[in-house]
Symmetry: C2
Subunit: 368 residues, 2 copies
């Protein structure tokens, strides 16, 4: 995220200073300046942020107490610590929806080491860690009593399993004046470990669903009074209802195609919103597909992009490697965007590209 | 150039190490690493290049002797020193066209302090410094005997003044396998100091002229056996002939719109060609216009982009600031690309944007 944000910030000559606990982080090498530090450490965040004009995050899992303190000291923090606090805790996030009549699946909060016996009646359900889950981690789907023994023991939520038709995502942004702008909805296809494998833009939904999804996304960001880019993941249930699954207060995997397929990219939009500039046009300029480049099963070690040359010979295709030196199974190593004149065209090309490229370990063959 | 090349190289996780004699150069802040050094110094270029896998240039005005030596030592240098040597000297460049039957205007080489008396019969003509000219500098148009006293005294060429209909440009690229790819021709509109003010893509020319221009550009790069991106500037004479004006062995101002308006940008194409990858599709995806942001007359000092907010509210518009801290009259400070569905649309928007933005000095009003 930081990396692509930097690529676009260069267009506006904005100095981007990055902090990460890994000095080989994807954003480290292309930032204007870099500080080694832990975003979960109160001291590191304070020390880093005290001299900044403006702070933002590429992940919500950050020390929010430190951000509150920096805000108190007069540093502008967008998205606001208040918003990050709600979103980073899936329990608070769900309560926020409930309190504001934002449609979402039914849920229940569980304390650490909650009693299993009470849970049986809720089966089947999804259990999610309240904090720290990411990219499919921290989520278990429970279908039978047997699963109950493998549940998380930390504070969590359980949610009704939604019988959905489609999973769509809406990227919305808001600046401090309260202007909002919504990108067209996109459709996500997940793989078996709950990671987005393909994304298609626009989503194949009715005009009413499109409008409803846009309105709902605007309602969420306005209710949060958030400044920045918010990704709103929605279920379309089999009876046509929209339910908010969860939100991310930042540019998101489901908005990467906007770099090639929309007037303004989600990264530039994030920059515009936090800088207090006019929000950019979100008009779609191409049909798009995005293929996540995930580390192959059984491969761990220095990354090698098998078949990259083949991908390069496709027209209407843009490769984005994130510069992570090591691959591991399911790790997001990059993505490829396909753009074209119809959904059929980009669907076909996306399938082809998916078959052409594989992220493996460069050192020997790790297949077991 | 370096800056936009870096923005696109990030997509492929290519480590870009920049040398410039100014540590506030536009590319310095976003490079993976930076060395302070003079590209015209033999020692600096050798010292910088000896440990590189691959060297390229963003301007042809570089110490070519040092590049020859590095090539001898086994460093890959693209474009080749041999090509840079020809192109950086406008005399050798013209001789190259003459020797290879590449159509160009008639010319004559002048030694330093050449006798004025012989020149009168050639009037009117253009005098160009053989080396070191850039962005309209080093070029004088002589229309009468009076001008002859203001001529350059250094080695130069004089060329017949071409009575042209249009000035167009073709960006062509070639990799080491000898594959070539040509972008659609573009049309350039110059201001009164011979700098590109507007550019429109595609050029409004007949299919035959388009084909002829493409063929000519491919012929030039093949004859040079050059690896990299070559910008070929052409005159279309009033009787429909194509003449090569001059070439630049690198991404060029007349190809900036390719970032938004073509499948592959000229910067990615340059990367692909010098890395020995498959060349990318050059297909046009949008009609485009580019507006150079030139420093306003009478303004010198810290740069301020008056009207930038207004430009940001246009749809189909991408701003590129180069991050130069100081402006001066006619200095290229950035550009704005407009993309849309017709030439009329982008022409109108380009005129509007031109009237909205002005690069001035931030410190007071320097208007005299």
């Amino acid at each position: 995220m930081g990396r692509m944000f930097i690529q676009e910030s260069i267009n506006y000559d904005v100095h981007v200073h990055i902090m990460d606990s890994n000095d080989e982080a994807p954003a480290a090498s292309c930032a204007n300046s870099f500080t080694l530090g832990d975003i979960n450490s109160y001291e590191d965040v304070i020390e880093f942020g005290r001299n900044m004009d403006l702070l933002t995050v590429e992940i919500e899992n950050v020390n929010v107490k430190a951000l509150y303190e920096l805000e108190r000291q007069g540093v502008t923090v967008y998205p606001q610590p208040r918003v990050l606090e709600i979103i980073k805790d899936k329990g608070l996030q769900k309560q926020f929806y409930a309190e504001n009549n934002i449609p979402t699946s039914s849920f229940q909060l569980l304390d650490a080491n909650a009693d299993v016996d009470n849970l049986q009646e809720h089966l089947p359900f999804v259990q999610k860690l309240r904090t720290g889950g990411y990219d499919g981690r921290g989520v278990i789907i429970m279908k039978s009593e047997k699963g109950l023994e493998e549940r998380f023991l930390e504070p969590s939520i359980i949610e009704d399993l939604v019988d959905y038709e489609k999973e769509i995502s809406v990227i919305v942004s808001r600046n401090e004046k309260g202007d909002t702008a919504v990108f067209p909805t996109v459709e996500c296809e997940f793989n078996d470990v709950n990671l987005v494998e393909f994304l298609f833009s626009p989503a194949e939904v009715s005009t009413e669903v499109e409008k409803e999804a846009n309105k709902l996304a605007v309602r969420v960001i306005n209710t949060l009074e958030m400044v920045g880019v918010l990704a709103v993941e929605l279920f379309i249930t089999k009876d046509g209802q929209l339910l908010v699954n969860e939100v991310a207060p930042r540019p998101h995997n489901s908005g990467h195609h906007t770099i090639e397929c929309n007037d303004t990219s989600q990264f530039e939009q994030h920059l515009r919103s936090i800088m207090g500039w006019e929000l950019g046009s979100t008009k779609m300029t191409h049909f798009g597909a995005m293929i996540n480049l995930l580390g192959a099963e059984n491969h761990q070690g220095p990354a090698h992009y098998l078949g990259l040359e083949d991908v390069l010979s496709n027209s209407g295709t843009q490769v984005h490697l994130y510069g992570k030196s090591e691959t591991k199974p399911h790790r997001k190593m990059g993505h490829v965007t396909v753009f074209g004149d119809s959904l059929n065209e980009v669907r076909e090309k996306a399938a082809k590209i998916k078959s052409q490229i594989k992220v493996i370990s460069a050192v020997g063959n790790n297949e077991s």
